[in-house]
């Protein structure tokens, strides 16, 4: 069985804003304003990622915060688990 990865939920969209990322969930609809600046590209979750995968070049201090944020995105339904190919 393939390991679980994560990907943007098909009912959700995300785009870059000045403050960071704006997530949209059409099922609510709901919005999520994430002050991520430019550290997380909006297309990062367009493909399936490992749960612990982060963009390259992040400082160690920011990795934990970003990892926690990604967990929250999963819990809130903006991301969903998908098998890793």
């Amino acid at each position: 069985m393939a390991a679980a990865g994560i990907q943007l939920h098909p009912a959700c969209r995300v785009r870059q804003e000045g403050f960071g990322l704006l997530f949209y969930d059409s099922r609510g609809p709901r919005l999520l304003f994430a002050e991520t600046g430019s550290i997380l590209p909006p297309d990062f979750f367009a493909t399936v990622r490992r749960k612990d995968e982060l963009p390259d070049g992040l400082p160690e201090k920011g990795r934990g915060v970003l990892q926690k944020f990604i967990t929250q995105l999963l819990e809130k339904g903006f991301l969903r688990e998908q098998p890793l190919c």
Partner: protein, 346 residues
């Protein structure tokens, strides 16, 4: 509560209302745009498809189509397909009379469309008095077709004095049909302005509806930017007018306005025949004025955090004062009823 990210301005709207035509096969008495015949110079198919391309490039998440009756446009499904091919989600507000099995099957294939069918009473007599003879039966037939498909479907009801007592029954009807209920506010624009005094809910009805809504968690309301339940609005901190901040309106001829209820020349933000969508969103003085709009006269009200002064469109249509606060807000309903009682006692 406001939202500081929204206050600073987004690079483009989250969603927008696109009234693709003024043509309509019905003559509903509350129609916000007085739809009947198509506008003389509505966007061509090529112009409409170019707009879709712009919306995609600008990052707009969702387009809410209305009119007029959108399905009257022969190229409407082509416009929808263009949206869906670019991942833009769509919601269609329709009277349901032009939906058939084949069309519903085509629409259901995309998985990116939701549909609202207008129905203005739980009883045929109530609905048809507003929307026209035979419309209730046609709309219910369309809702049944949609409910049997995978398309997320809702009944959209405009609250009027005639149907205010039937809203709980509307909710039951929606449940029986397997769809959700969305209740929109009646605003005095278009034919709604002509029939305002006859159709407007009275203060007691508005208060009763508000109480009922507070206990009906899954009923959505037609807010200025999109449909949210009361709880969702509070949780997001987006309980403010979203015009020119989260949403905007594109009219049939490509004119852009803050919202569908302010489609007059006075509130024209620009024309897509003269400027790009992004240029108008970024540079329009009208949009700038809405982004900085503060209803100072309401700031001392105990409900200010709930409504931020209410709907500027209603304030404009009833008082010709966009900054004057919503004349039909719940607080004013309470005051109005209290004043009536005092007068009666005196």
């Amino acid at each position: 509560m406001s939202n500081r990210f929204v206050e600073k301005g987004l690079r483009s709207p989250v969603n927008l209302t696109w009234e693709v035509t003024f043509a309509c096969n019905l003559r509903c008495r509350h129609c916000l745009s007085a739809s009947a015949e198509p506008a003389p110079d509505e966007l061509t198919t090529a112009e409409a498809l170019d707009l879709v391309e712009q919306l995609h490039a600008d990052g707009v998440f969702q387009v809410n189509f209305g009119g007029g009756e959108p399905f009257i446009r022969p190229d409407f499904e082509e416009i929808l397909d263009a949206c869906h091919a670019r991942g833009i989600m769509t919601c269609i507000s329709t009277n349901g009379t032009l939906l058939d099995t084949a069309r519903v099957e085509r629409l259901a294939r995309t998985r990116l469309v939701a549909i609202q069918v207008s129905l203005d009473g739980a009883r045929k007599e109530t609905c048809d008095a507003i929307r026209g003879d035979g419309v209730f039966d046609k709309a219910v037939k369309a809702i049944k077709l949609l409910a049997a498909s995978s398309i997320p479907t809702s009944i959209n009801t405009v609250l009027t004095t005639q149907n205010a007592d039937e809203i709980p029954a509307m909710y039951e009807l929606a449940q029986d049909l397997g769809v959700s209920l969305r209740v929109s506010r009646f605003r005095p624009s278009g034919r709604g302005a002509d029939n305002w005094e006859e159709l407007r809910p009275n203060p007691a009805q508005l208060l009763a509806f508000s109480d009922w809504l507070a206990n009906s968690g899954d009923v959505r309301t037609g807010d200025s930017f999109f449909s949210l339940t009361n709880q969702e609005r509070q949780g997001l901190g987006l309980n403010l007018c979203g015009a020119a901040k989260l949403t905007c309106c594109v009219g049939p001829t490509g004119n852009m306005h803050p919202c569908a209820f302010l489609q007059s020349e006075r509130f024209k933000a620009g024309s897509l025949r003269d400027s790009t969508f992004q240029e108008i969103w970024d540079d329009s003085e009208i949009y700038a004025s809405f982004r900085s709009l503060r209803i100072h006269s309401c700031e001392d009200c105990q409900r200010f955090d709930q409504c931020h002064g209410g709907c500027p469109a209603v304030a404009y249509h009833l008082k010709n004062d966009i900054e004057g606060g919503d004349p039909e807000c719940l607080e004013r309903c309470v005051t109005s009823i209290a004043d009536e009682k005092k007068t009666a006692v005196a």
